[in-house]
């Protein structure tokens, strides 16, 4: 698939949105402005955006606790996402989901799940409805290396295989489930597991290269759209921050050299160099893009600050489509 200059710049824009949004969220957690916790996608932007941009606007996706990047990558506006993190009434989920459970149905984001692996069957079901209704939509399930060892993934891969469902299983292998190195709890190679279900399994070794991710996921999406069924794409990447913001572990489970080597390969810096080198944009244009994104994040925070908290009665809304009597 040929990408226009505009598409390439949009990739950079979305990666920057994720980076700046998460940097700001991290600060706000530390200042007590965001209650609870957040898990940032800093370092994994190429993996997220490469996958999201391979999907069409009407396509579906589901995700996990490392949640902000997915809807941002799919094109969700930043204001309601930030307001959700703070618990404001204008949040994308009206303040009822929070960081772990973002969803923006307007962009096909069917929800992030705080339970590891739990949203994989949901994306599978969205693919089933596409198949039955014949509407040509593709569904993508984001999950981590930790979720790769949940049984529901294999139930989902099997049923998708027998039904030829238009779904892409996208493993974001950031190599650690909290403090546990993936290789110590994962037998074999995750991508190789696809063979057992008779579907393609691809491993993108350089998940910091947004174009490599885009290419692999595009092939899987096109295959799904042609009615050829599901695929598994494993993308090897790295989170630069701690598992969650504010988390302080007594042990240094990640080797400093390893971490430095990955941080050196910052996906946003790498892609900026690519854009300049290929003459897609000048340094000035890319600086301007960065400034625009920063302004967007500032605006999202301003929107959040000016938004009210939800009325307490909202705690009793939207449990059912019609109230059935649950009140204070």
């Amino acid at each position: 698939m040929d990408l226009s200059s505009q598409d390439l710049l949009e990739m950079q824009r979305r990666m920057l949105r994720i980076r700046r949004f998460d940097e700001r969220a991290s600060k706000m957690v530390k200042r007590g402005q965001i209650p609870g916790t957040v898990h940032t996608s800093i370092g994994q932007e190429a993996q997220v955006v490469g996958a999201c941009m391979a999907l069409g606007d009407g396509d579906y996706m589901s995700g996990n606790h490392r949640s902000h990047g997915h809807p941002i990558g799919k094109g969700s506006p930043l204001g309601p996402l930030m307001a959700e993190l703070v618990g404001k009434a204008t949040g994308v989920c009206q303040g009822k989901g929070g960081s772990l459970h973002l969803a923006d149905f307007a962009v096909g984001s069917l929800g992030e799940s705080g339970i590891v692996g739990s949203s994989i069957p949901i994306a599978t079901g969205a693919a089933l409805s596409s198949k039955v209704l014949g509407n040509g939509k593709v569904s993508l399930a984001f999950f981590g290396d930790g979720a790769a060892n949940q049984g529901c993934l294999y139930e989902a891969m099997n049923i998708s295989g027998v039904w030829d469902l238009p779904v892409v299983f996208l493993c974001e292998n950031n190599q650690y489930a909290l403090s546990t190195p993936a290789h110590t709890v994962t037998s074999g190679v995750i991508a190789d597991r696809a063979a057992g279900f008779g579907m393609p399994g691809v491993r993108v070794e350089d998940g910091q290269d947004v174009l490599a991710v885009f290419e692999a996921v595009t092939a899987a999406v096109e295959r799904a759209r042609r009615g050829k069924g599901p695929s598994l794409v494993e993308v090897v990447t790295y989170r630069f921050n701690e598992h969650s913001e504010g988390l302080r572990l007594g042990t240094d489970y990640r080797n400093a050299e390893e971490k430095a080597a990955w941080v050196e390969r910052d996906p946003i810096v790498l892609f900026r160099q690519h854009l300049e080198r290929e003459g897609i944009a000048t340094a000035e244009e890319l600086d301007a893009l960065e400034a625009e994104v920063l302004a967007e994040v500032d605006e999202a925070v301003r929107f959040t600050d000016e938004s009210p908290y939800p009325d307490p009665s909202v705690a009793f809304k939207d449990l059912y489509t019609e109230p059935i009597g649950a009140t204070a």
Binding site: K96, G97, H101, L110, S118, P121, T124, Y320, A326
Partner: protein, 348 residues
């Protein structure tokens, strides 16, 4: 009117729902072969045809034995435009998909601020009383009553089974229907024309003045039999079948208790945190002044279900236990605090 079995009524409701709306699909183990008789016009394909012939393989789908993804995929499909009916066969199998029921079906609409609606029906049958042992005999509806966001129905006769299932398919929220296998063969009058029974409306199965008996699922026919016997002893029993546990028609029960002053609840679930426990609490909170005797629960004691017929049969609410409970609350029989009718032997 026509005479239909409980199982036949479920099949008829499914057929009507499939005909009424192309977004309705049926997925589950063995649904293509119409093993239970609910996915065909009759039990035999040769005889009357089955759903696979009528609606095609796109809408009638056999699944692998993978409850977690069956339930989760049905939720995801419901969030994106289908209205699935999921046949999970045995209620005991619901536990395999607990995460999807509790964390996805029940929470997604709420958690996402109303963006999702989840029109999906999960059917399962409780095979208790049939010597299938502990892994097939569960009556787990009270566990799910503790999960806000789910609707729970417990039809006790063919008329209700058909009308409630039609409403369930129309519901934009997830509905769990718990069918009692014991009732599958029971027959009753069902209208020829289509009809739907609203949720949250109890049925007064028998009117009476002295004691209110709230009976659930297969306890309803037992309560009716008990009421007949007790009528011969001069006790007038009102039998209320709530039909749906979420939403629950507490007004109907309270109104009845305000008249009778006495309440017995017959519930095939385990005693602790049973539906009966919740109904007792509602009445104690809201109609305490009307009560002329302590509330009595006739439930399955807190033990697992044994295989041997010699062991199993005694455990569930039956007409004799319900009769004795009524005799106690009316003073015809001495009441005892430890309630040995329904309590298990002391735990060792």
């Amino acid at each position: 009117m026509t005479i239909m079995s409980y199982l036949g009524a479920i099949g008829a409701a499914q057929r009507e729902a499939m005909e009424a709306d192309e977004r309705v699909v049926i997925i589950g183990e063995d649904v293509e072969a119409n093993v239970y008789g609910t996915t065909g016009a009759g039990k035999s394909r040769k005889d009357k045809g089955d759903f696979l012939e009528m609606f095609g393989a796109n809408r009638i789908r056999n699944t692998p034995i993978s409850e977690e993804v069956i339930v989760g995929a049905a939720i995801g499909a419901a969030m994106t435009g289908l209205r699935p009916i999921v046949d999970l066969s045995y209620s005991s199998f619901l536990y395999m998909a607990m995460d999807q029921f509790v964390n996805q079906a029940a929470k997604n609409r709420y958690m996402f601020g109303g963006q999702a609606s989840i029109p999906v029906v999960f059917r399962s049958a409780m095979f208790y009383g049939l010597n299938t042992g502990a892994h097939h005999s569960d009556r787990p509806y009270p566990m799910f009553m503790n999960v806000p966001g789910l609707k729970i129905i417990v039809p006790s006769n063919p008329y209700d089974a058909k009308g409630l299932l039609r409403t369930a398919v129309d519901s934009d929220d997830p509905v769990l229907t718990f069918e009692a296998c014991m009732l599958w063969g029971s027959k009753g009058e069902v209208p020829e024309e289509e009809y739907k029974i609203p949720f949250g409306q109890a049925n007064v199965a028998r009117a009476g003045d002295d004691v209110t008996v709230v009976a659930i699922s297969s306890a309803v026919p037992e309560a009716l039999a008990a009421a007949e016997t007790l009528a011969g002893e001069g006790v007038s029993v009102e039998v209320i079948d709530p039909r749906t546990l979420v939403p629950f028609d507490s007004e109907a029960v309270i109104r009845s208790v305000q008249r009778t002053g006495r309440l017995v609840i017959a519930d095939p679930a385990h005693r602790t945190c049973s539906a009966a426990a919740e109904i007792s609490a509602i009445v104690a909170e809201e109609a305490f002044e009307s009560l002329r005797a302590p509330i009595m629960r006739v439930t399955t004691p807190d033990t697992q279900i044994p295989f041997s017929p010699a062991l199993e049969k005694q455990l569930y609410p039956n007409r004799t236990k319900i009769e004795d409970a009524v005799r106690r609350v009316t003073g015809l029989m001495a009441n005892t605090l430890n309630n040995e009718l329904t309590s298990p032997a002391p735990r060792m």
